[in-house]
């Protein structure tokens, strides 16, 4: 690799300016994972299909495996690591945890980022709206029902911000009954 191949680019990741020396062909996902150590952004297919690597670039969801790091120069990038504030989970994170909207969790960061974008655009989506907005993300474990539940709960404000130590208030036994009935 020649020195002239290297580009200095500054990414603002989760509010922090991160100058990087990268080749122009460096993918944003690799810059995040390998150069900045932000491994919450997962790579499931590396061709823009599964959505596991979704991040927000200036508030818009982007597949970080389909974008070069240099394209994101000067942009505000939010990864899953930037959602919680300190010990307090983002309401959508809390809802995914409470509703068990994850099993292996590999797809979860991508769903969260797509979900955050959805709720910003439409704070009160219906089920069809949630499904439409998350259609670009695949989950192999859950069958998606708990994911829909979690996004709707977060939208309802049912999953208020909470810290890790607090007990969840979800009455799951009641939910099972409700599901049987629907």
């Amino acid at each position: 690799m020649h020195q002239e191949d290297i580009v200095i680019v500054t990414l603002k990741v989760n509010g922090v300016e991160r100058p990087l020396a990268v080749e122009p062909r460096r993918l944003l996902c690799d810059a995040l994972r390998e150069d900045l150590g932000l491994t919450g952004t997962n790579l499931g297919c590396e061709q823009g299909v599964c959505g596991s690597c979704t991040v927000l670039v200036d508030g818009e969801s982007v597949r970080s495996c389909l974008m070069f790091a240099v394209q994101a120069g000067g942009c505000e990038i939010t990864t899953v690591e930037g959602l919680a504030s300190g010990e307090t989970l983002h309401p959508l994170q809390a809802a995914f945890w409470e509703k068990q909207a994850l099993q292996c969790g590999f797809c979860t960061p991508g769903f969260l980022m797509a979900g955050v974008e959805l709720l910003r655009r439409n704070p009160e989506p219906d089920e069809a709206g949630v499904r439409a907005a998350l259609a670009g993300n695949t989950c192999r474990c859950t069958g998606y029902e708990h994911i829909v539940d979690a996004v709707l709960a977060a939208a309802d404000g049912a999953a208020r911000e909470r810290t890790f130590a607090e007990e969840p208030e979800v009455d799951v036994a009641a939910e099972v009954v409700a599901r049987e009935g629907r």
Binding site: E81, V130, G143
Partner: protein, 802 residues
């Protein structure tokens, strides 16, 4: 190459997980939920160590070829390359395999499938490693591949293995067999075909091997069964198992696809050779070549019944393509044979199940494991029979439903509970979703969603039913067990239970289950689950829906041992008669009254028990296919409602309703997740998921071309759960992971038949079949190089030919 001081990885080696879990029967917040939503959870692909090297694998572009020569010199000379290894460098046994060690660690003399590993390299950068692969020159003599399982049995077929091409044959003869055909008033016949499904777990295979500086190695790996990996790795490294220590790292899904080895031996070989930590991480394309798939199958059936709808006999011939190596094909062949007739009382049967070697990709474990393929066929047959008899398909099933005390075709008595009739009746009375007007509907509600260019003129609705079952736990005489170490101690004045097993959490919620049991049995608030590793005895595989049962039982047993010692102590020190004591909220209690706090009774000591739980003995089949072969049976029935656009061949699954027998609900929320997720994989097999193989070559090794259901494909699931206790199992529970995947597929296809009137004998069902354009699968064309993204199959094919 310099000696590296052994280090503890900086970003590997998960610590204990401590929290206040729910009790048995309660939903619990996953303890791994927070790291999974914050991005801190460490998957095996996230691990890194200072000074580590990157491994990469050279794979055969040919499904069948002689290896004439391998020249690694050019690759070795590449700057940044630390090792280039071939079969000559395998220190111990050159082959591996769970059941039959027939698969080369690195190929020699011959390659038997496209993607078979031939050489491995370690380099200072993943790109250098990949570049080095291009400099390894392999001279192949290309041979004709055997790609049709039926042809593999012919006399003149070249033998792929010394043992021949027949991996296993099972014959079950029950009652008079087809000799009873004369008693049947009605006979229906059918031929069915199942395509090759992929587990498609989202986190590709990865692992990190770290040499210990003393000749041994530590491997951090995402797997389903640490100890069977350890045994196979040690054997091929020529080491004692205690020199090869494995720790489970974060697993991104499994579904059977991580039961066989992928890069475990390779990473260890490279680490030992270079004396540096070596990480290997497959990408999606390599993942398709790096693990086994669900067996494609051809199934020929004949069902005979009396005029009033009683089954008289079933004749079935099942042919499975095992691909190039054995994997767990033996057991799949057995499962398919024993589940061939479905959960019905069949007085006479003749079943043949054949498992054959070919040059297709190796097949092995995937959720449902042989029962899936059989269920698609036997359920299609039941519908056909009902149609012939003019009976309601559900009523025919209910009429012939297995019940406790009946005999399976393989001679075993059906153990209680076996609520086949009950789950069918539950599904029957569940209200159907209201029929919605098609015309004028929001486009997103049409089959095909926004890609539907019509107004819905061709949309027809259909309803289909199916029931299936699955054995839980390992069968046929295998000594299936799990080990648990449980330690009761006091931390900061509070009693704490520490649980250590080697059981692999792959996403299903096993951490919760173990902790729920510990809390329930020892009456403490705080439980700590240690990382799964090989410092404790084997837990067996996270497969066959068995961990809740077998590891659950081991944890329960160890907790009971600790509890007995507590009560013994109460007797010795306080003179309390042990009868009638229990533990609750950190206290030893009698009749709801605190006798002594646990912390006080322990007085700084700790109590520890390590227990193995071995389940009831099972037996192999005899020469007539008879034997008490399986441990436990779990049943699920499904009803599918679909809408088919018969002009465009597009499908919308409106709803799946299911009733499943689970024995005891341990964690309601996790159970829902298993049922819904399992149904999604069944839907995938019905409608879209197939690895397309032509002349032994995979045509769609990417998520662009191999489709899995999205949130728009998956409908709402209506479920009813039956808790009928199995008296032999811990808490009466039954395994729950696999049954949802079995009958959901045939229920959807039955609904498609109901909507279209087509026969639909092959899955996945393609749009062109539904639109009446084609009867069967289209023959796929060769892919255009460069057409399928950066890692298209063309590159793998062309890599060494140029």
């Amino acid at each position: 190459m310099s000696q590296t001081t052994p280090t503890t990885p900086t970003r590997v080696g998960p610590g204990p997980t401590t929290w206040t879990p729910g009790k048995v029967g309660e939903s619990d917040r996953r303890p791994d939920g927070v790291p999974k939503v914050t991005g801190e959870f460490e998957y095996s692909s996230d691990m890194r160590l200072d000074g580590m090297l990157w491994g990469a694998t050279l794979r055969s572009p040919h499904p069948h070829a002689e290896i004439r020569q391998i020249d690694t010199s050019e690759a070795e000379d590449l700057p940044g390359v630390y090792a280039v290894l071939t079969h000559e460098d395998v220190p111990g046994r050159k082959v591996y395999g769970m059941e039959i060690p027939d698969q080369p660690v690195l190929a020699w003399e011959k390659v038997r499938y496209q993607g078979e590993p031939v050489a491995i390299v370690a380099a200072d950068h993943p790109e250098t490693a990949r570049r080095a692969l291009e400099k390894v020159h392999v001279e192949y003599g290309v041979l004709d591949p055997i790609t049709d399982a039926e042809k593999a049995v012919q006399e003149d077929a070249p033998k792929l293995h010394l043992s021949g091409n027949v991996l296993r044959r099972i014959r079950i003869l029950h009652g008079e067999g087809v000799g009873a055909a004369a008693k049947a008033d009605v006979v229906v016949r059918g031929e069915y075909e199942v395509g090759m499904q992929d587990q498609a777990f989202l986190g590709p295979e990865s692992g990190l091997a770290v040499p210990d500086g003393l000749g041994g190695v530590d491997l951090y790996i995402s797997t389903q069964w640490l100890h069977i990996d350890q045994d196979q790795v040690a054997e091929s490294l020529g080491m004692d198992p205690d020199q090869v220590r494995l720790t489970l790292s974060g697993v991104g899904g499994a579904f059977g696809g991580r039961e066989d080895l992928s890069m475990q031996i390779h990473a260890c070989m490279l680490a030992l050779e270079t004396e540096r930590p070596v990480k290997m991480a497959y990408n999606r394309e390599e993942s398709f070549f790096g693990h086994v798939h669900r067996h494609p199958a051809k199934l020929r059936y004949e069902h005979g019944a009396t005029r009033d709808g009683n089954l008289v006999y079933v004749k079935a011939r099942l042919v499975f393509d095992g691909g190039a190596y054995a994997s767990s094909s033996n057991a799949v062949c057995l499962n398919a044979a024993t589940f061939a007739c479905g959960p019905y009382e069949v007085p006479n049967a003749e079943i043949e199940s054949h498992m054959l070697y070919t040059n297709n990709p190796p097949c092995g474990a995937m959720r449902g494991f042989g029962a899936v393929q059989a269920c698609f066929a036997h359920e299609a047959q039941m519908d056909k029979l009902a149609d012939e008899l003019g009976l309601d398909p559900l009523d025919l099933r209910i009429k012939n439903a297995l019940k406790p005390g009946d005999r399976f075709p393989f001679g075993q008595e059906v153990p209680p509970p076996a609520p086949v009739r009950e789950i069918l009746e539950r599904v029957k009375v569940m209200p159907l979703p209201e029929e919605q007007e098609v015309m004028g509907r929001d486009l997103r509600g049409l089959p095909g969603g926004v890609s539907n260019v019509t107004h819905g003129e061709g949309v027809k609705r259909g309803v289909g039913y199916a029931v299936g079952f699955k054995n839980i736990g390992f069968s046929a005489g295998f000594d299936d067990y799990s080990t648990a170490r449980v330690r009761l101690t006091v931390e900061d004045g509070e009693p704490l239970v520490e649980v250590h097993t080697a059981a692999a959490e792959v996403g299903q919620g096993l951490l919760m289950l173990q902790a729920q049991i510990a809390r329930t049995e020892l009456g403490v608030e705080k439980v700590s689950i240690l990382p799964a590793d090989t410092r404790v005895g084997s837990a067996g595989s996270t497969s066959a829906s068995r961990q809740s049962y077998v590891t659950g039982a081991a944890v329960k047993l160890a907790c009971e041992g600790v509890r007995e010692r507590l009560f013994e102590r109460a007797r010795e020190e306080l003179g309390e008669p042990p009868d009638g004591l229990s533990v609750e909220a950190g206290n030893v209690v009698r009749d709801g009254r605190t006798v002594v706090p646990l912390a006080e009774l322990l007085d700084g000591d700790e109590l520890e028990e390590t227990c193995e739980y071995h389940h009831r003995e099972t037996h192999p089949l005899d020469e007539n296919g008879q034997g008490d072969v399986h441990l436990q049976y779990a049943f699920a029935a499904h009803r599918a409602v679909v809408e088919v656009d018969v002009e465009l061949g597009l499908v919308r699954v409106v709803e799946i309703a299911t009733a499943q027998d689970v024995g005891k609900i341990i964690n309601p929320q996790a159970l829902e997740g298993q049922i819904e997720g399992g149904i999604a994989q069944g839907l995938g097999l019905a409608l879209m998921e197939e690895i397309q193989v032509k002349e032994g070559k995979v045509l769609n090794a990417s998520f662009t071309d191999y489709l899995i259901p999205t949130i728009l494909d998956m409908p709402t699931v209506k479920m009813e759960v039956l808790e009928l206790a199995d008296p032999e199992a811990p808490y009466g529970l039954k395994g729950v992971g696999e049954p949802p995947t079995i009958a959901s597929t045939p229920a959807i296809v039955a609904a498609l038949r109901d909507a279209t009137g087509l026969e639909l004998t092959r899955i996945p069902v393609r749009p062109e079949q539904l639109a009446g354009v084609s009867d069967g699968p289209p023959l796929p064309d060769e892919p255009t190089p460069g057409g399928a993204g950066y890692a298209e199959v063309g590159r793998l094919d062309g890599r060494r030919e140029t």
